[in-house]
Structure formats: C-alpha cells, structure tokens
Symmetry: C2
Subunit: 260 residues, 2 copies
C-alpha cells in the first residue's frame, strides 16, 4: 500500500517527498504498534521541523489511546505543520485543534488507495498538501466561515473529554460508515445534547455509507435523524456535506479558509 502511494506521489506530485515512518508497518494486536511506539512515532514527526505535514496513514481505532501522551509533548515545531486525516484520526485532529493548531485538516489518507477509485482520493490529499488546490475542497467550505469535520461516532466519544474542541460558530460536518441507524440516532442525540455543541453555526451531514440492517426498519432516514436532533437542539441543519468513508471524500480545513 505504501509503495503504491509513493509511486502515485512520484508520478503526479514530484515535488512531494513522502516518508512512511517505520511504525506504520508494526503490529500489536489491533494496533500498528504498541501505544508507546505509536505515540513516539507521532511525536517524532510532529516535532521535526523538517516535515511540512503529518499525514495519518489510516483510521480504524487507536489514536485516542495515545492522545494524552501525544498531545502533551508537542513542541513549537509541531504548530507549524499540517495534520491530515479522518475517521479515528479525528481524536488527534480534535485535540490539536483544541490546542490552537492552525492547520488541521479532514481528508483522505494513504490507506484510501485500497478503495475503488482510491487513487483519486490519495491524489486529492497530495494535491491539497502540495498546493492547497481549491478543487480539492468540500464545496461548502468556500462560502462558510469556520468549519470542522469528523466521523460521527468518533466525535461522539470525544464529548465531555479534554479532547473536545470549542466549535462555537463552526459549521460541523459529520459522516459515518458501517453503523446501525439507531446508533447514528443515539450519537446525534449525544452530540446535540452537549451545551457547547449547541453553539455551533450549523451541522452538515456527510455520507452515511454501508448502514447495517436493523432487525426491523428504524423508521427514519439519516437525514430525518439529523434534522430531528438539530431541530430539538436549536442548531441549523445546513444540508449535506461532500465527505465520507469513500474515494470522493473532499478536504475540510478546520477553521475554514484563511485569507492569504
């Protein structure tokens, strides 16, 4: 997978010098290395000023396990860097954004090359990282003020923790994959019941793909669900977002576009 991503980068983005940290190839049970190995790898790249960006290799589950360590040992070199990923990596994106880091970005990761059409997703990420090309961006970002994007369940499990960032005034985009509708409902109930979240400017719903089959029809679509909870919480529902666990997943720079 790493070789394919490197080959794609070499062919299409020759200015990019891509480095895969050896930790990416470790294995420890569910994880790509022990917590100590994974935290050390994150910090080695984050705190090294010679890297312009830290690109999360893949999602799954595990970034929360290293968040306290990883976020607690960052140096000034880490602040100048772009951090790009999504899904489970959202825990660290959230924590970094909460610490005031300015270049936190939701978008495709190297592992997306395994998807159908995944080369386009990887190329989109590399295009954004190398030039910030406008055509890589989620379409509503240009007209919005502050924005942020997360996987729904990942974000739900940040609520009430020190990793929950202040998103007052932000358009919050949420996407999901491989969950039951009742869990999408429960996570939106959870998120929209949090007093701080009720200060967002609005919610956009990304794609909810591969929804698992309820033992009976849930009775509400994912759009009806998010409309219901937004209405109850007094949060504007702003429509769909062009993000999701798929090759079309567009780029969302946290905080929105900044003037040059």
């Amino acid at each position: 997978m790493a070789d394919r991503v490197k080959a794609l980068a070499a062919a299409q983005f020759p200015s990019v010098d891509l480095h895969f940290h050896p930790q990416c190839f470790l294995s420890a049970g569910h994880f790509a290395g022990t917590d100590a190995e994974r935290a050390a790898a994150f910090l080695a790249i984050a705190n090294d000023a010679s890297f312009d960006a830290l690109w999360f290799g893949r999602g799954g589950y595990g970034s929360g396990r290293i968040a306290e360590t990883a976020l607690g040992q960052l140096t000034d070199a880490a602040r100048a860097k772009t951090y790009l990923g999504y899904s489970d990596a959202g825990v660290l994106l959230a924590g970094l954004y909460g610490k005031g880091f300015q270049r936190i970005v939701h978008g495709p990761m190297p592992a997306d090359i395994n998807r159908s059409g995944g080369e386009a997703a990887v190329a989109r990420a590399l295009s954004y990282l190398s030039t910030g090309a406008a055509d890589t961006l989620e379409p509503s970002v240009a007209g919005a003020g502050k924005v942020a994007a997360f996987n729904l369940i990942t974000f739900s499990q940040l609520i009430g923790t020190p990793f929950q960032p202040d998103l007052a005034g932000h358009v919050l985009m949420l996407e999901e994959v491989s969950e039951y509708l009742y869990r999408i409902d429960r996570a939106l109930l959870h998120i929209t019941s949090n007093p701080a979240i009720r200060r967002v400017a609005g919610i956009r719903l990304g794609r909810c793909s591969d929804i698992l089959t309820n033992d009976r029809e849930f009775g509400h679509s994912e759009v009806q669900i998010v409309q219901h909870w937004c209405s109850k919480a007094g949060i504007p529902y702003l429509g769909r977002a062009d993000i999701g666990h798929d090759a079309d997943n567009k780029i969302v720079p946290f905080g929105g576009l900044r003037s040059a």
Copy 2:
C-alpha cells in the same frame, strides 16, 4: 411476554399488582410507539401516586429520545417512586438520579423472562420491588458506600450531556453485551477521560457477554482494558460486579444502601 410475567408475579408475589401500560404493546419503526406516546406513558405512570414503582419493560434503544420531555414534566408524586431497569433505560435512570430522585435501581426487566433462566431474573426484580430482599442485591453493594450501575456504551453516550449524573464518590459498575473489544476500549477511554468521572470512588466491571469477533485479536481482555483506563485516570479498579445482560443480573440501588 407480559402474560408470562403477570402469571409469575401472581404465583410468587401475590401482593404485587402489576400493570402493563398499553404503550408497551405499540410499535413505531424501531420503537414501542412514537416518542410522544412513549413519553406520555412514562409520565402517566411516573406522576401517578397510586403506583409504587415504574418498571421499565425492556431495553433496546429509545429512552434517550424521550429523556428531555420525560424528565422535564415530573411532579412530586414521581419522586416517591422506585424506577427499575437497565441497559438503554439507563439514560432515564441517569437523568432521574441527577435530579435527586432517591429510588433509582439497576436490575432485571420484564423482557428478561425471554432469557434462558429468565424467570429467576424477573422473580429477583419482583422480590426487590416488593420487599427489598437483601439476597437480590449485587454482592458488593452491602460493603460499598454510594453505587451506580450502567451499560457501558449507554453511559458513554451520556457523557457531557445534561443527563450525566454527579457520581463523585460512587462505585461505578459497568456491563456490556454484543460489542467489539475495541469499542469497549473506546467507551472506557471516553468515560475515564471525563473530569467528573475521575471523581468516582472506583469502577467495577460487570459481565461483557457475546463479545463480537475482531478481524484480528484485539490483544487485551476486557479486564485488562478497564484496568488500563482506570490506571491512566487514577481511578481504583475494584474488581468484577455481578451484573450483566443475563439472568444472573443482580440489583444495584443507586446511592447504595440507606439505613432504615
């Protein structure tokens, strides 16, 4: 199911007058009636002083959807009543306990009669409701101070909402069913990262049954997981609790035993 529970109650607990609200037999998609029907039924029993207890019929998912309405319209008659249930009903148990209600109880529900050996679970609940029999209690309750018990994921999705009760000084018991170990890990990371939860007296782990198979070995057992997060959070891990999604599920009265 209701007929079997009524027959059991009539045979073994003739002093108990059991009433099933007609809402229990409604159906609206995933739910036993619409939110309005379910909230109205809850309030009809809760606010009726002629009932000594409100016994949740079953879990599943849905009590959170009515929590804001149900908890906002309670009268003084509701305070004198016992509320008994577990699993998804934990959302309302949490909200009621947070409002200072004194007789909030985690334990078997009528639907448990469908389990293997479920008559014993239903009889245990009826025994507790009718006499408060000591042999129905989770064994550690007698020696503990304040206690509370929840389903792990249900409780995780209360964190940071108005339904999260103050459990400072409580022994918190958590049980789970039909989840992946990585989700048990994620939920415990979530819960133990919340500053208010770090003030509990300790955590006990109930049974984690029917754990779903990870695509690779997770690498840590459920006990190792809870020990890990308790250690990181500075919360004492106190061992197992005799609760779970099974016929052996014992009674946990929130707040612990009170002297007569």
